[in-house]
Symmetry: D2
Subunit: 347 residues, 4 copies
């Protein structure tokens, strides 16, 4: 039996980070991961102080990040579930230490300057930052499995972006979409996507019995989507909404096909694209996936309806924003990086 991989995780006290810590703990190929504390964090000595639901399994000690200490322990792979500013500062250091990195933030996802602008990065060394941004692989396994396998730095995709890209990829790659007509993604996310910091927007009374659109035309994930799908900026309209549920994303996507098609052609296009891809499920029309189906799983569920005219296509795409949209996808990426089956540790 091969030696188990040694990993570390910085940022386990956020929602995605907690989910990732749990997955790494149970992953059969890994040693118990080192959980690292960010400088300036609230200084909890154990993750169970932050999340009391973790009590009673021998503890989840949090240790201050120290590069020499990681080296001493033989850590090879570092997960960052940190805000993008922190990831932007830490990744160059980690890479310099020879670590492989999977970063869950938006820090390294974008290739084009005009999209990156929305993040307002303040890099210490802009040359190195530019090199790393170039080198980073966008970690969507169903799109870039080969490049992920050999990557040193994987930029784990955004949750909305995952749901939208996976729905659109097969049809766009097959050249079936009338791109100039414009594509619309009306996406809805649970509240954990807004992060753990308490704000008036995430107050229970503001969210319960409510529903709202936000960041129309200027959400950060839009850049990822157009870059990965090869679209012009005006070809994709993306409207995120806040659902009164803790987790899950459902995107309803509107596409005009170039020519009238039959439902079975569309289904075939989706199915054949995802043949052999364990974590994407294509539903047979007219059955549509519901948000609940993919909760607490790493699946991206896809379904569709085609109008009688054969050209107006509605796609429905669901992911658990904390799993396929974050932590689960990070584990799937790790599996690719180390040559394991993409299901390992995710069942």
């Amino acid at each position: 039996m091969p030696a188990k991989l040694k990993t570390a995780l910085l940022g386990a006290s956020g929602y995605s980070g907690l989910e990732l810590a749990r997955l790494l703990e149970r992953h059969p190929r890994l040693e118990k991961p080192a959980l690292l504390r960010r400088e300036g964090s609230d200084g909890a000595a154990d993750l169970a102080q932050v999340f009391p639901e973790l009590s009673g399994n021998g503890g989840y000690p949090l240790r201050a990040l120290s590069w020499p200490e990681l080296k001493r322990q033989g850590v090879e792979l570092l997960f960052l579930a940190t805000p993008h500013e922190a990831s932007r500062a830490l990744v160059p250091q980690a890479i310099a230490q020879g670590l492989r990195v999977i970063d869950l933030s938006g820090a390294w996802r974008l290739k084009e300057e005009q999209h990156r602008a929305i993040y307002s990065f303040h890099d210490e060394d802009t040359t190195i930052a530019a090199e790393l941004a170039e080198k980073a692989v966008y970690g969507l396994p169903e799109l870039a499995g080969d490049r992920i396998a050999s990557a040193q730095l994987v930029a784990n995709p955004g949750c909305y972006a995952t749901s939208v890209i996976l729905a659109l990829l097969p049809l766009l790659k097959a050249g079936l979409v009338e791109r100039e007509h414009g594509i619309i993604s009306d996406s809805k996310s649970g509240v954990s996507g807004a992060g753990k910091a308490p704000t008036s927007r995430t107050h229970f009374v503001s969210v319960a019995d409510n529903f709202s659109a936000y960041a129309v035309f200027n959400h950060r994930h839009l850049g990822e989507m157009v870059e990965q799908l090869g679209l012009n900026d005006t070809e994709l309209t993306f409207t995120p909404h806040l659902l009164p549920i803790p987790r899950g994303i459902l995107s309803t996507i509107y596409v005009r096909l170039k020519r009238p098609m039959q439902p079975r052609e569309v289904e075939l296009c989706l199915r054949s694209f995802y043949t052999g891809k364990h974590w994407v499920r294509v539903f047979a029309t007219p059955q549509l996936p519901q948000l609940q189906f993919s909760l607490h799983t790493n699946y991206c569920d896809l379904g569709f309806c085609l109008a009688e005219d054969g050209q107006r296509l509605v796609l429905v795409s669901c992911v658990d924003n904390l799993l396929k949209g974050a932590a689960g996808q990070a584990v799937q990426n790790m599996n690719l990086m180390y040559g394991w089956h993409e299901r390992e540790g995710l069942q």
Copy 2:
């Protein structure tokens, strides 16, 4: 002081009917409404048996429907909050009795045969049914106030239709929309819109922590929308979704403008159309209405975002499906029919 109007309501044991009973009870121009029981109903003698929250105000007795009895009491106006089959059978009788009728069902909303087909009506007298369907006024006060004022039969609009039509009317009337491009309404409704009958679909466990699309391309309200907006059937794509909340509708509507516009032009178009219309509120961009804002009110709230290209327009429209989408609108229609201010009894 003028004599108070005598009204009757059949169907108070449903969600919209209950809401309407409450509004009629409090309306300053009305006598206490006669609450009628449908034949074959569960036979409750008082509405407080169905809704215990009504206890303690002297009772809400339910009486069997009897045309002679209504005449004897001097009832002039009948509200029907009944399933469409029941309304289709009862309205000809009520009209023959000389009553004015506001029907909350879908029985009399549609003018065109191809849209009506979805309801599969079985009319006893097809000639009379056709005459009444012709005569019925679609009861959207902001669209057809004058015709409603003199109507004998008002077909109260569907909840989804109200939210979509009110958002699109100003721009379509002004000729600003590139209709051939196609309009999309991605609409989301609370569960009371699905009615009070318990089904596996309305089970709490099926709805909570969930979200789903349904009836894509074939929801009944689509016919109303295209008829009232003067669109061809393929020019409007309508996707309803089920929100895990009891009430409220938010529609996110995607429109291509014929020419690049400024946000203030769009705002002006909406505002000027609704000048003097109390129950539509236009929000100043970039502020968008949230579903919660219109809950428990008769408002339809409208807001929008315009892309930098000036042509991709996202409209957001919110109504309480049981008020502006049903019972509140019925009262607003009554106000018009009797020459009262449209706010009466709705504050």
Copy 3:
């Protein structure tokens, strides 16, 4: 027609304050209330900036509190929906100006020093504070209607206290309860009771799909309950819990009766005590009120179940924490203070 009363409200930007502002706006005996801004508040010039759902009714301007200005306007009655520290500082000033005051905070509810200790008041003039605390009338209309009528300072009860006291009063006054056995109130409240400030405890993800007890044995409202019910501190065990809903309180109360009784005796005791009290509804056993029944009303709903042994009694009491538990009760108190019917402005 008598001149309308002039009132002012400080603190409309909280949940109870907003509810109170809405009630005062619609109250037929009042002029439009003056809405006052607290010093150091976020400085919104209009309440609709804080609550966009208030848009479109001509505005709710917020003005800085100024005693001379209130006098100039002829304001007679001041409502305070402020934190208890603020109320503790402002009430002496308001009383000195000759105003009558209804204070929704806990500042003036307690008569006994040992209960007051939990609030840690820092009074500028302890003599005046003690005098006012003595003079203040605990504003539970069903308990102290006469004294409220002539009060200058009304301390509006806490939401939990309202639900518990109203359930227990009739039986305790009738001497039916074995007090030494101990009484238990297991109470559950919606999240608006925790206030509008965003905290990790009120984050949607912390509350949704969750339920928890808190402040066991040391919640502030316990003092009010034992004082008003004439109990010793150890005779009442009070456990508040946080429900994953925006509003409403349900208390399940456990009492040992001194002697075996019949259900109809218990019902008679409750009913006779509340005869003529419009805002308390007694349900006939075995029907129990549900939290939902009293939402958006000023009712306190009471029901009960009696064990076969005739001595173990379970009472269920429901209020809307923002209405009968706060703003509605404040209006009810005003009605008493000015000799109006207790229903005025609350239907």
Copy 4:
């Protein structure tokens, strides 16, 4: 490596059954379980037709129950997640076939006739039924681990009963509770506990934004609790409530101690009782478990608060009603019956 155990499950189309099917699928000691269809069920050929979220793992075929077929397959252990009437009829047959059985219903939990009366069983052969009822072991592993190990028929406890018994056992066994004073369990459950059949009570609109008590003094689980705890019927008052969440139970339990105690004594009593019991977690006072902490786990979480008088004790107990309250506990029981670690298949 030893041969894997062959199991069958009847009733996978209910909430507990689905959960159990998932656990059995993943259990490392088991072959893929045979999923059985009840006669007269809707006849789905695959469980994924009932629960589309199961799509994409090779299918979950449902087969009609046939004793010879089970024997042919070498099935040793049968799980029943059927209504109690069905279990009452099937268990004698299964036992006659030599199968071991874990029954999740209430059919075999009660030893005393007066408690069983509430179920109104209609046994075909009353002698055999009485023998089996006597022989059945109440399947609470922390209480009866040894007897479960050798049992042929395990009656899996009710969800409420699990939460209440585990909280009270240590203190009652230690003789610390003043039983005659009476014990109160105010328990709250999510909606999946009410089963999957759609009723007006489980309609989303009836549950959301609501909370209510039900079945006061006569819930079926009360019998189990008093039998297993060795209490008289009047010594335990049990009030179940319906929470607006899909799953989870929190019981708040009120106990009078015989003598004033220190918190650490209480904690020690709980901790020492559960030493070596993996699936009960005792929280250190004053920290209380929240319902959310045990969701999606097999833990029963216990915490407490002790009044200053040292005698009034409030216990808080949480379980996931579908796991520790049903399917998880069934797996834990199987682990005991086959000598495996109680954690196997439950992590």
